[in-house]
């Protein structure tokens, strides 16, 4: 973790929700270290053909913008008002009741008034009023309008990259105003001027060329999976044979590349592999991985609608090329927002695929019959319900678990009970966090929407405070020591957050827990879990 990151107790002490004495329009922008991400690498922008690729630094006075940048923003704004009813309505109807104000994890964690969702939107609305409404033109500042200036632009950039598009505010808004939508539009506008952050731009560029955010090339992707095969053999004694790019497979499996790359996501990845192995041995399940569509996540979603579509296109294209029946998707947050609410519209109709049916239970996934992509939590919950998995939940007895609903599956989908059902069947000790911090009211990990970089650690730790605080509560009252989640970004960022706020809690994916409990035919006696942690009860068994 960054050296200059304040200690967690210092951060809490410094937290002040008192209002600034100055009007927000008069509070100048202060781009503070630890709270922003580095500028996008021009090479990455070039790969995508994105505008104004150049080296720039947010701390510099000069952001090297094109001369007509105001015109570009104005035109871009106008175009988006026509293309998105959400944007236009959300610009017009906010009454500033303040219900959203203390719902945002970034506001709760920083106390910065411009992180109140209403004010984040007002950053854009003030310009909208000035440029697109009569009242704003006539009344000027009295009507809440202000002209676009370079400082306003910098303010947009700073605060639109302090929003993780989690939609929690939208749940509480009496008009359903969705700050995620406003941030998405704002970031699109910023991207017209080449104002992206590198943590988004480079993964997008990687994904475009190599098929995944991390830039793992096909042979390396296979290599990495083969390492997992070896690790799994050590723990279980089983010899797995994952299939890649296999034409004619029944099902294509796509998951975020983060799970192939770093702990603890890797254990989730091993979890998928073990589940597929089990199903193959018992029921002849035929699933393939793809190196071309080797990314479930979509940082294009954090760039622009167009970029999202460009990256997402690989899923259907690969499914078509391989001739599979339908697609199964791994555990990821924003990936599922894109699949559930955008993919079919952008890159469908997927009429070359079949309506998804579980080959093992015969269950028709009616809710996915058009998009033809099923979430693995739905798939596994169905298997368990039909008693198709032999499970020994005591193999997870070294864990006391709570579940973090990831923002997008919660508020952009409603996948709430499926993962809980799975957890309760593969573990013996599960406790939910307090009601105002889970399900549709869940708090973001603080690093979503491409903000999971290293240089903005203070932002991430402050943004993650509400989540960590709720984990701390169940840690202290129920002895929770494991935070389960169904999102690859969560798995990548929550360990750091836990280390900072609740050091004794570890992070796991859902299918790591499934694989631990899954009793495989022909497996060796299990004395450790997938991580190699000893299983207390099992050791005793071994002694007997």
């Amino acid at each position: 973790m960054a050296d200059d990151l304040p200690k967690s107790n210092e951060l809490l002490t410094a937290l002040d929700y008192g209002p600034s004495p100055k009007d927000w329009m008069d509070t100048p922008i202060d781009i503070r270290k630890g709270m922003y991400c580095y500028a996008g690498n021009p090479k990455s922008l070039e790969t995508l053909g994105a505008p104004n690729a150049r080296q720039w630094n947010p701390l510099d006075e000069d952001w090297k913008l094109p001369e007509n940048w105001k015109e570009i923003i104005y035109e871009g704004f106008r175009e988006r008002l026509e293309r998105f009813r959400t944007f236009k309505i959300f610009m017009d109807i906010c009454v500033r009741c303040g219900a959203c104000a203390d719902k945002c994890h970034f506001f709760i964690g920083t106390g910065d008034p411009k992180n109140m969702p209403v004010l984040r939107a007002e950053l854009l609305r003030s310009v909208y009023r000035n440029d697109f409404t009569k009242a704003g033109k006539i009344l000027g500042r009295l009507g809440g309008a202000r002209p676009m200036t370079i400082d306003v632009l910098k303010e947009w950039w700073y605060y639109l990259f302090q929003c993780s598009e989690c939609r929690r505010c939208s749940v509480f808004c009496p008009y359903g105003i969705d700050t995620a939508e406003i941030t998405i539009m704002g970031r699109e506008l910023l991207n017209l001027l080449g104002l992206n952050i590198d943590w988004i731009a480079t993964p997008v560029s990687n994904c475009y060329r190599t098929g995944n955010h991390l830039g793992i090339q096909p042979h390396a992707f296979k290599d990495m999976m083969e390492f997992f095969v070896e690790d799994i053999e050590e723990v279980t004694g089983l010899q797995l044979e994952p299939q890649f790019n296999k034409k004619g497979a029944e099902i294509l499996f796509i998951t975020p590349s983060g799970d192939v790359f770093a702990d603890p996501g890797t254990y989730t990845c091993m979890g998928y592999m073990l589940l597929f192995h089990y199903l193959k041995e018992k029921y002849g399940f035929d699933v393939t991985w793809s190196t071309y569509a080797s990314e479930g996540g979509n940082f294009g979603f954090f760039t622009s609608h167009e970029t999202m579509k460009r990256l997402n296109s690989k899923m259907y294209a690969e499914a078509k090329r391989l001739g599979v029946k339908w697609i199964l998707g791994g555990e990821c947050g924003h990936m599922w927002r894109v699949i559930h609410q955008y993919m079919d519209t952008m890159n469908g109709p997927a009429d070359f695929l079949e309506e998804p049916v579980s080959p093992i239970t015969g269950t028709k996934f009616e809710n996915a019959k058009s998009t033809k992509m099923v979430h693995i939590a739905e798939f596994t919950a169905d298997l368990i319900k039909h008693n198709k998995l032999e499970l020994d939940p005591s193999r997870n007895d070294n864990k006391v678990i709570t579940f973090h609903d990831s923002c997008n599956p919660a508020r952009g989908m409603g996948l709430l009970d499926e993962p809980r059902y799975v957890i309760q069947n593969v573990c013996n000790h599960f406790y939910d966090m307090p009601a105002n911090t889970i399900r549709e009211q869940t708090f973001c990990c603080g690093s979503g929407s491409g903000l999971n970089a290293g240089e903005d650690m203070e932002l991430r730790m402050t943004g993650g405070l509400p989540r960590a605080n709720a984990v701390k509560h169940v840690h202290e009252t129920k002895g929770v020591n494991m935070l389960a989640t169904i999102c690859a970004i969560d798995r990548a960022v929550l360990p750091a957050l836990m280390e900072y706020w609740v050091p004794d809690v570890d992070v796991t994916g859902l299918h790591e827990l499934v694989a631990n409990a899954l009793v495989q035919p022909g497996e060796a006696k299990r004395t450790t879990d997938l991580r190699g942690e000893p299983l207390p009860g099992m050791e005793e068994d071994a002694d007997e």
């Binding site: 998105f84 109807i93 104000a101 203390d102 969705d178 090329r321 739905e378 169905d382």
Partner: protein, 361 residues
Amino acid sequence: MNYKYISSLIAVIVLFLIAYVGVEAGGLQVVFGIVLPYVAVIIFVAGFIYRVMGWAQSAVPFRIPTTCGQQKSLPWIKPNKIDNPSTTGAVVARMFLEIVFFRSLFRNTRMSLKEGNRLSYNLEIFLWVGSLAFHWAFLTVIIRHLRFFTEPVPMAIQLLEKVDGFFRIEVLYDLAQVGLPGVYLSGLALLAAVTYLFARRLFISKVKYISLAADFFPLFLIFGIAFTGIMMRYFTKVNIVAAKELTMGLVTFHPTIPEGIGGVFYVHLFFVSVLLAYFPFSKLMHLGGVFMSPTRNMTANTREVRHVNPWNYPVHVHTYEEYEDDFREKMIEAGLPVDKQPEPVESEVEASEDKAPEEKE
């Protein structure tokens, strides 16, 4: 930040003076009693339609409802039909609860930091109560006022009056009653709710910080409307027969200015006119917008039924063929299947390793 509400307050006071002086000293009854009300109604209707049409013209490219409950997935998992609606009927129910009972606002919580290290979120019901009281009282007042625009007064309106003014002694008595008039609860509730909504903008620091002049102005204006109405009814005792003659003249397009109506009535009417004319250009348009908000008024069965984007356009993609061209040698070497075998020349030479860097470019 004072200028935000001071300027709004001054604006409303100026409006008061314009109407009062205009009528009492200038004799401009025709302007404030006939011309401006007509103009205001025209602006309101035309403006409202214009704004709603403006929103309707914007496309709805994606179906992105905010889901606030369990999705409909496996048959044995109970979906939250209203907060994650998968049918049109359920959307109607969701919208009904939203518009009539402010369901989302009912969820409101207040965050506080306890003992310096524990975040807690408690139900905060006052905003919901206050705004519900405000809107329902306002609606009741508006409907009650229809008695000034109908002759005979429909039973329903009379009934509402009866319920609203149950303190009243002489129910359904002649409109120009004598003695103590009954107290309309709606009028008092409206005044109280407006005062509360104003007070929270003044005393809750976060709300004060985000408030604009445009948030104070309608509150002062509506306060002025309610206040002048109550003045006329309980204190200055406006000549109701004459007032109704004027309002009936307006709706029957035979406008007249009867004798014996005081300046306060014209102020009341002017405030209403200003509110109507201001409405389409302000945040008050949330009345129309709440029906059209795509995060609330769409079904959430987005994987079940395909949504069509009217402006969906083709984009540049990196095709599998291009991808394989980039990595073919490495894929073959790793034992990954490829669609196209390398050029025979290359395979004959079997120098794939040497070629690799070149291919990578």
